[in-house]
């Protein structure tokens, strides 16, 4: 039954998403028209409303462009472009390159608006505009915001930046020293620059903002520095603060009011953001907002996750530590919370709850539900009802010893007390490790295959809790960690997951964590990169590798695809190793210390022997 609905949904969705303008090769047209025909047939039998589709619209619905890192508000990272197919991707060739001149981890997605490509670099956060209408895509202009050099000292996991957002003639992005800037997309001139945080409290910003209804949504980083997490909305025209919603503290600060209707009883009550913490610890409690935001225009709700509580050592912060390691649904106009849920109440392992949420309408148990799919750091793929916050399913997609499942009655993970960190004692075999089964690297979802393409890792760790000392502006972790490969010895994986059937369709193992995002196209090709520098194309249905290209450095960026001014389909990726997983290379770290870089170095000792640092854009097309 469910399977039948999935097919229905997939076909219908294909039509909904194929509003691509511009020239397409015949294969693409054939596919579309076939889908349309079958969709008509389907529509007749779908009177009960079982037709699935992607929630939300793209700020610019044309697949020719790529205007926000997640491609659309539903965050599917799916492009209907179909010139590059499983049959011809093998002949993909390098079209042009561009050196960013920066040697740190490049996690950003390039943006394409009209005939211009925009790239944001890691610190010092340079914005480059490349002219796609000229041969070799020469530099049009660059914008340098000059962030404070000291900000590098409060960036836990390399000085990365996850990209910009385009809206109404402007490029919006964040700088490491906690500013948001608006830049004229045509000229590269700064329109406004607003300081949102204070590095002396450990705050930095690494996330890509999202613009919703004229508001720029930005969150802070610093869960390893005892920040107090928030999401802030700025007026896109002026940069003035519209609202700020804290993750912890009294309801008035969290913007919890009369509209707040969480699904589970443990999330109801007054000022839980205070009472679930010892004394005043909510004031330096973590819960940053450094990941992804999605938006459903029909429900008029934004969704975003909150990061780990501070410090990592859980013994010093008894209680559920609300609202860290959770998710909020809010009204983007006012910031008011509509529902909230904690993936990991009283988080034990640095399982930040900030991963991407894909807003899909899926057939679940016989009826279409507006769901939110979240491959969570704890190792479970959650499917939530995005109207209510109810957990519909939570299935493991990696090796887990820290919990024994998710109780669907209470919504709480079933913890394994044997693996709980303890002060002054070493607990071994903690799986997944602190970066989780998946960290920030975003998945994609194809309406054509009905599959989610999840880049992730396979890591475990040993951990000891230590004494915690909060000194503003310095790390506040209180744990010694040593990571290593999980069962099987491979450290990375790309899993194609069927969220309706609740099982993997296929998986590809990788030597290193797959720390890049994925993109999936109307040509049924999945693109991703590896930390040893390969950019790969897989068949979205089978996982068969169809093409690979060796870039200059390890890849931890987000691939995108677009139509050039010549109406050809291009695929772009930033190469440039780094990030938490690549810190051993970019920081020149000493591998004799297993605890270096929060314990990640121990799992990556061989990385410096296969890649070196260096940021470079690679763009490919068919000959």
């Amino acid at each position: 039954m469910a399977k039948a609905y999935l097919v229905v949904g997939v076909l219908a969705l294909n039509v909904a998403c194929s509003g691509t303008t511009g020239a397409h090769e015949s294969h693409r047209q054939r596919t579309s028209s076939l889908a349309a025909v079958r969709n008509t047939r389907v529509a007749d039998s779908s009177e009960r409303g079982t037709v699935a589709r992607v929630a939300g619209v793209t700020p610019d619905s044309s697949d020719a462009q790529w205007t926000i890192p997640a491609k659309n508000y539903a965050s599917t990272r799916y492009s209907g472009l179909g010139q590059i197919t499983t049959r011809n991707v093998g002949s993909l060739k390098l079209a042009f390159t561009f050196s960013t001149g920066v040697n740190r981890g490049h996690e950003a997605a390039p943006l394409v608006v009209g005939s211009t490509m925009y790239i944001v670099t890691p610190f010092p956060n340079i914005l480059y505009a490349l002219d796609l209408s000229q041969p070799g895509a020469p530099l049009k202009w660059k914008f340098e915001p000059h962030p404070s050099s000291s900000a590098q000292g409060v960036a836990c996991c390399d000085v990365v930046n996850r990209g910009a957002a385009y809206w109404d003639g402007k490029i919006y992005y964040n700088t490491l020293d906690a500013h948001t800037v608006a830049v004229d997309a045509a000229t590269g001139r700064e329109i406004w620059n607003t300081r949102l945080g204070e590095i002396n409290r450990g705050e930095s910003i690494t996330m890509a903002p999202l613009v919703v209804k004229g508001k720029v949504l930005v969150g802070n980083s610093g869960g390893e520095f005892g920040i107090r997490g928030w999401l802030t909305a700025l007026d896109a025209k002026t940069g003035r603060l519209a609202w700020r919603a804290y993750t912890t503290g009294p309801d008035k600060d969290v913007l919890i009011g009369s509209r707040f209707k969480p699904f589970y009883p443990q999330d109801r009550g007054r000022d839980l953001g205070v009472s679930t913490w010892p004394s005043d610890m909510w004031k330096y409690a973590g819960g940053g907002v450094w990941g992804w935001i999605s938006y459903d225009p029909e429900l008029n709700l934004i969704y975003y996750g909150t990061a780990n509580p501070s410090p990592w050592n859980p013994e010093v912060r008894p209680g559920d530590n609300k609202w860290t390691a959770g998710i909020f649904a809010r009204d983007p106009d006012t910031g008011e919370a509509v529902w909230a849920y904690q993936w990991s109440p009283h988080d034990l392992y640095d399982y930040d709850g900030i991963n991407e949420q894909l807003l899909l309408d899926l057939p679940i148990k016989g009826r279409t539900r507006k769901v939110l799919v979240r491959p969570e750091r704890s190792g479970y793929i959650y499917v939530l009802d995005r109207e209510t916050g109810e957990v519909l399913s939570a299935d493991p997609y990696g090796y887990i010893t820290t919990t024994k499942g998710v109780d669907l009655t209470t919504g709480r993970p079933i913890e394994n007390p044997e693996k709980a960190p303890r002060t002054g004692e070493v607990v071994r075999g903690v799986c997944p490790a602190a970066p989780g089964v998946k960290d920030w690297q975003p998945s994609s979802w194809s309406p054509r295959t009905g599959l989610l393409y999840i880049p992730h890792q396979n890591l475990c760790q040993d951990e000891e809790g230590t004494e915690a000392n909060y000194i503003a502006g310095t790390p506040y972790v209180a744990a010694i960690v040593k990571m290593y490969a999980g069962p099987g010895g491979h450290r990375g994986e790309l899993t194609a997951w069927d969220p309706v059937g609740r099982k993997p369709a296929w998986a590809v193992k990788e030597r290193f964590p797959v720390w890049s995002g994925t993109v999936v196209t109307g040509g049924d090709v999945v693109f991703y990169g590896t930390m040893d520098g390969w950019f790969k194309a897989l068949d979205a249905r089978s996982g068969t590798e169809l093409w690979r290209f060796k870039t200059g450095s390890g890849i931890i960026g987000q691939p995108v695809t677009y139509l050039g001014p010549d109406h050809k389909q291009y695929v772009a990726i930033l190469s440039g190793v780094g990030g938490w997983s690549g810190a051993v290379v970019v920081g020149g770290l000493d591998t004799r210390d297993s605890s270096a870089a929060l314990g990640f170095v121990n799992a990556m000792k061989d990385l410096p022997s296969v890649t070196t640092k260096g940021g470079m854009l690679y763009v490919f097309s068919l000959p």
Binding site: F123, S150, V477, G588, D590, R592
Partner: protein, 188 residues
């Protein structure tokens, strides 16, 4: 001479050695002073290049370079002041490694003292006003012991926590190298 006599003499020599001035220094305990107003007094070169004929170099050792108590206090402060959160057990992370022989801002005790008190431009915070001179010198001694620059009999021989690296005492002494810019400063 009987063998018993020889043993006695040997014991006496050993006792003298133990009570000798160096050994006393190893065990000396200075307790913290107040206020926390550490300040660098002597400027020390941080680079190899200096114009003109050589000038007289001051041999700076730092008051705890041969003091086991000072080094162990330094190790305690290293954890308490959250140095470990950036440099970890010497392998580095947010900040550069401290157990290798590369020194961005100089390896002399006075250089390290300045680094801690005044901070450095690519993320090292300034701890001025947070520590006393003595505490900073203890930290300096411990930090230098991480790369084997201190005598083995004063460097730490055991860890209170999970074993993640070999002990400071058994870290081979490297030749301090003047490094290039910190990796974080490599940008156009």
């Amino acid at each position: 001479m009987s063998s018993r006599c020889r043993s006695a003499r040997r014991a006496a020599a050993l006792a003298l050695a133990v009570l000798g001035p160096t050994a006393c220094r190893r065990e000396t305990r200075e307790f913290a002073t107040w206020p926390p107003s550490a300040s660098a007094s002597t400027a020390v070169r941080e680079v190899e290049l200096r114009p003109g004929p050589p000038t007289r170099e001051v041999d700076v050792r730092g008051p705890y370079a041969d003091n086991a108590y000072g080094v162990s206090e330094g190790k305690r402060l290293y954890n308490q002041m959250n140095c470990t959160g950036c440099h970890f057990q010497g392998g580095g992370g947010i900040g550069p490694p401290l157990m290798d022989s590369e020194w961005i801002y100089g390896s002399e005790p006075e250089n390290v003292f300045e680094t801690i008190v005044e901070g450095r431009p690519n993320g090292m915070p300034s701890f001025r006003g947070k520590l006393t001179n003595d505490q900073v010198w203890q930290l300096v001694a411990y930090v230098r012991s991480m790369s084997g620059l201190l005598p083995k009999d004063v460097a730490s021989g055991r860890n209170d926590h999970m074993q993640v690296r070999s002990q400071e005492q058994s870290t081979p002494k490297g030749t301090p190298q003047q490094s290039a810019l910190p990796p974080s400063a490599e940008h156009p």
